[in-house]
Each structure stands twice: as C-alpha cells, then as structure tokens.
C-alpha cells in the first residue's frame, strides 16, 4: 500500500513563505511554461533554433521581461516575484530562462540604469513588450572571466565613435535588434547601444553547442562600426557598470537553477515509483531513497537561500558577494541533482523523452556563464580574507 506522497518543495511547506501575489505570479509563469514551452522545448533543443521572437512576445505580453524595472512599460515587480519567474521558466528550460535574463537583467537593465532619457524611451517599452530583442556583449574569444582586459576598442572620430572588436558567446545575438556592447575607450570601459543590423557588424550563430540549445547564442564581430555620440550609454563608466548588470542576472540564476533541479527531481521521483526492477519499484530501494532525500534536502536549502537573497534585495540590502554565494551553491547543487537524477533514470536518463539530460547539459552552461563557479568562489574568498586571489 502506497502512502501519500509529497513534492520535494512541499516537504517544508515553502509555499507558506510566499505572499499571495508571489504565488499568483509563480502560477502564471508555470502555466505559460506548461502550455507554451514544455510541449515543444525538447524539439527546440534538438533543432538548436528556438522561436525566440515568438517566445519573447509571449513573455512580454505577460509582463515578464524587465519585470523588476519600473516605468517605460516595465512591470515593477519585486525581486522575489522575478526570482520565482526565473525558477518556473528554467523548470521548463535554462535556455528560455536565459532569453528572459539577458533581455531583462542585462540589456534592459543596462539601458534603464545607464541610458539617457531618449535611449530609455526608444528601447525599453518595446523591449518590455518583447517586440524588440536585446543582447549583451561583454565576453570576447580571449577574455571571459577577466573582461577587464577586453580588446574591443571604441575610438572617437569627430563627433562619432568607431568600434572594432569581437564579442563571443552572446545570448540572443543571432536574433537581436539591439546589442549593448562594452568597449575600451580613452576614458576606460564604456557601454554602447548598437542597433542591429548596422554596417560593419557581422553576427553569426554558434550552432555546435551541446548545451543550452533552446537558446540562440552568437558571435558579434565589429569592424570599424561607426556610431553617433547618442549610441554611448552616458551613465555607464568603467567595468563596474557592466558588472552591476551581471549582478542582476546572476540573482535570477540563483532561482532559475532551482527550477531545473526541481523538474529533474520531480521527473525522477515519478519515474522511480513506477519503474520496477527485482520485482519492486526502484524508489523502494534504500539506495534510491537516500539519493532522493539528499537531493530534496539540497533543493529545499537552495530555495531558502534564494528566498533570503530575494528578501534582502527587496529591502535594498543585497550585496554582490551574497549573490556569489547563491549562484555558487544553487548552480553547483542543481547540476549535482541533475546528474544524479540522470543516473536514476538509467538508460532513459539519456533519452530526450525525459527532460533530465537536457537540464543536466544546460546547467553546464549555467555553471560557466555569469561568472564561473571558480570566480564566485574567489569573490567569497576575497570577502572572507580581504585578499584577492584572482591574479
């Protein structure tokens, strides 16, 4: 006789920590994901060419793009509501969450925080609606964890700026209408808004990815790209401006990774209670139960950590090293959960018919982008010791 079962996040009644509004937003995003993402995402992943424009419009209509920002058609949501949104999107697929993160927390946030009034008016309302897609070009082929040594240059030529360089691994780039490009100038690193297409800019899709295939990733080559003075983000001075955008996006990932882990775990529990070997469900073996229990404990701890960071953010107390703790822990644990779940599904674990392998390989990207786990470890180490171990 099987007794009643409880879901991994229901175990601690974590819902009771959320307000009615927060649950309502979570339910909305879960429903959108269930109806418009989940049934198709395995195919998008297999094809490597997801319908980013259509997705952006759907997310925009629901008010989920740049939702933490206020004004200019943005929803003005709380950090916790945004986090729950990331979690539900990533429970469907990390690639879809990446679309929303880059659009809202990187591209829109850069314009919202550092743009001129004209730039905000021009771009933000359409980006919030999902009609215009943005991307964020910081990483270069030879400069990833150390973006401060970037070689993309912007030089003055009369009243214009001329940009030359190469940006690599840029999410949304193949479909973007505007790119936030970070480049070195005589006055340090500055941000520029580059409408796409623009003469001199070549965007190519990176298609040989084995991870995050339901996200469009590209390379942006800038070859003497002439831009007017108005393309400069006036408020973005120095690398710290670029890093402040990353901090927003990383916060979303702290939650997002939990979504992928939850989906793996729910799928796996369902599988393990129905899959029989040696005459009984594999979930009935103590070895399996130990794995399920350990993974659930990590998932629930991760949720508490994410919620703590969210409440700090909503009261203006969130600091970058706190986000590093969250990203380091939650992505690392989510990846461990995905791998363990993969093994519990046996051969079916590598099948595209289940979401587990897809989440597992997606999380490999999530571990690397927005600051690798090593970099976040060093951020925490520096905060603890006062010593920088980066160089």
């Amino acid at each position: 006789m099987m007794a009643e079962r409880t879901g991994p996040l229901q175990l601690l009644d974590l819902d009771s920590l959320l307000s009615e509004d927060e649950r309502a937003v979570r339910d909305l995003v879960r429903r959108i994901a269930d109806d418009t993402i989940r049934p198709y995402v395995a195919d998008w992943f297999a094809g490597g060419d997801p319908p980013v424009r259509e997705l952006a419009r759907q997310l925009g209509t629901a008010g989920l793009l740049g939702m933490r920002l206020s004004g200019y058609g943005c929803a003005g949501a709380s950090a916790v509501a945004y986090g729950l949104t990331c979690m539900e999107l990533e429970a469907a697929d990390s690639g879809v969450r990446s679309l929303a993160s880059v659009q809202g927390s990187l591209a829109m946030y850069a314009i919202w925080r550092y743009g001129s009034e004209e730039q905000k008016q021009e771009w933000l309302p359409r980006m919030a609606a999902g009609e215009v897609i943005g991307c964020f070009g910081l990483t270069e082929p030879d400069h990833g964890s150390d973006p401060g040594s970037m070689t993309t240059r912007a030089r003055r030529d009369g009243a214009d700026w001329v940009l030359t360089g190469d940006k690599m691994w840029i999410t949304n780039a193949p479909v973007a209408d505007v790119a936030v490009i970070w480049a070195r100038t005589d006055q340090g690193i500055r941000g520029f808004l580059v409408p796409l297409p623009t003469p001199g800019v070549t965007v190519s899709r990176i298609s040989d990815k084995l991870s995050l295939r339901a996200s469009a990733t590209g390379e942006i080559v800038l070859d003497d790209v002439r831009l007017p003075q108005e393309a400069l983000l006036p408020g973005a001075e120095g690398l710290k401006a670029a890093l402040s955008c990353l901090n927003e996006a990383r916060y979303g990932i702290v939650w997002g990774a939990l979504g992928a882990a939850r989906d793996c775990l729910e799928t796996t529990i369902e599988y393990a209670v129905t899959r029989e070997q040696f005459g009984r469900p594999i979930a009935g073996f103590q070895l399996t139960q130990a794995k399920l229990a350990d993974m659930t404990v990590e998932l629930d701890k991760g949720f508490l950590l994410a919620l703590h960071l969210g409440r700090l953010a909503d009261t203006g107390r969130l600091r970058p090293e706190m986000v590093s703790v969250g990203k380091l822990n939650n992505v690392r644990e989510a990846l461990a959960i995905a791998r363990e779940c993969r093994a519990i599904l046996g051969a079916n674990g590598i099948s595209g018919a289940y979401p587990v392998m897809r989440h597992a390989v997606n999380l490999e990207s999530v571990l690397t982008y927005e600051g690798t786990s090593e970099i976040h470890t060093l951020v925490i180490g520096q905060r603890l010791t006062g010593l920088s171990a980066f160089t």
């Binding site: 649950r23 309502a24 339910d27 909305l28 209509t61 629901a62 008010g63 989920l64 949501a77």
Partner: protein, 260 residues
C-alpha cells in the same frame, strides 16, 4: 453592457478525486481547488463582449472562504472588474436546485444584461444551472454556446450540438452557458495580477440574501447520495475472430455504439 459570470470552485480534474465517507459529497478538503475550466471561457467571452460594446464584468462565486485565492482572485486576474463571493457554512452539500436558489437571490441584488457560465462544472457535470436560473429569474437561457454576438438588446448564439450548430436568438437579459470551443481564454499578466488585488470583492452571507440556513445544505437538497462504491474494474473487451464475418461484426459494433 453589464455581464455577470458565474464561476465555480472545483477539485482539480487532473487529480484523483474522491467522495467523503460520511455524507458522500465531494471531498473538497483533500483536493487541490481551482476555477472550473469552462468558466475561464465564460470570463473570456464576457471580456470580449465588454471590449466590443463597453460595460463591466462581475464574477459571482458561491464557495467556501478558501475560494477567494484559488478561484475569485484567479478569475479577477483575467480582467473582470469586481467579484461577489457568497460564503456560508450552511451551504455545504447543497444540490443544484438549492444552489440555484442562492445564486438567483444574489443575481437579484446585481444589475446585469447577461449572465454567462460554463456549460458544466467538472465536478457535478449537471449542466442544468442556466435552466434553473432561467426559471427563477424569468429570463431566457441559451446553453452550450460556441459563439455569442450582441446587437440592439438581442443576443445571437451559435449553440453547439452533436452534428453542427443551432442559431438561437433571445432578448436580453439572458443567461448563456458556453463550451470551450467559444474562445481561448487569455493568460493573466503581471499587471493584471497586481490590479486584481485592488478590485472589490463583496462577501455575502445567506442572511444578506434573505435565505434561511434550513432552505439550503445537505438536508434541504432535492437529491442525496445514499451510497457510493468504486466502479468495478473494467471487463475484458470483446474479441472478434475474423472468419470472414469480421467486417460485419465490426460495423455492427460501431453502429451499436452509435459511431456510424
């Protein structure tokens, strides 16, 4: 135009549902509760009519207090202007007939040109609420709509039937129930969710409606479940050995089941 949409809280039809062992009513405590699926289509139809003709949409729900979050707010998040929530312990166990008396009393306190509802609820599946309300309120009821148009105080309904549709006209005010073929309900949005918090929800008790507790509930119900037993396991199917007459046997079967 003013539209009232009847919205019911039901146990999630995607889950295992059960009856209580004491009075054989639906075990609502054990279930995840949500808005009846077809009612979302009724709300969507109301919103579309109001977008075209102007006016306002009120949601009317008779349900326990916990329906406020699971159903009333969810309904308001789609866009209606306000809600009326009838809450009273005494209502538990009411049959369709007594329920219709309560809903009719509430509708008498509201102004409306049109009442919309889902063609059935996933728990009771009685399909009779529009007719009962039509009798009590003395207005036309048109059931099973797949399309509604309004012009000049008249409503035209494409009424879905097995082999096509019927065109039915009625004078307003009227009551119309809808099937899911009528539209695709919209998703709420973040903004609508936030706006829904501020929309007025009026709570009414039986006393507010001038109904005494002994007129409703299990004891006043016109029907009562005396006994319930799980359905026996399915019997094995019929096997037709094709000795040349297989085709005929197959057609006979399909004809008997009214497939052809």
């Amino acid at each position: 135009m003013k539209i009232v949409v009847l919205v019911k809280q039901v146990p999630d039809s995607g889950e295992e549902r059960s009856l209580r062992s004491d009075d054989f009513t639906v075990d609502r405590d054990a279930a995840t509760k949500r808005m009846n699926e077809l009612d979302e289509h009724a709300i969507e139809a109301a919103l579309q009519l109001v977008e075209e003709h102007g006016g306002e949409v009120t949601v009317l729900t008779m349900a326990p207090a916990d329906a406020l979050e699971s159903t009333v707010r969810k309904a308001l998040q789609m866009g209606p202007d306000r809600a009326v929530h009838i809450v009273d312990e005494a209502i538990h166990g009411s049959c369709a007939v007594t329920s219709s008396a309560v809903l009719a009393a509430a509708l008498r306190t509201l102004e409306w040109d049109l009442v919309l509802c889902g063609a059935e609820s996933t728990d009771g599946r009685v399909q009779a609420m529009p007719h009962m309300l039509s009798e009590r309120l003395d207005v036309a009821a048109v059931t099973g709509a797949r399309k509604i148009t309004v012009s000049g105080g008249e409503i035209t309904v494409e009424r879905q039937v097995d082999d096509g549709y019927e065109l039915v006209q009625a004078a307003l005010p009227a009551i119309v129930s809808v099937w899911d073929t009528i539209n695709t309900p919209r998703y709420p949005s973040f903004k609508l969710i936030m706006a829904a918090k501020k929309k007025p929800v009026t709570t009414l008790s039986l006393a507010d409606l001038g109904i005494s507790p002994d007129q409703v509930g299990l004891s006043a119900s016109t029907s009562q479940v005396l006994h319930a037993a799980p359905r026996p396991p399915r019997e094995a199917g019929v096997k037709v050995i094709d000795d040349g007459s297989g085709g005929v046997a197959l057609v006979d079967f399909l004809a008997a089941e009214k497939f052809v």
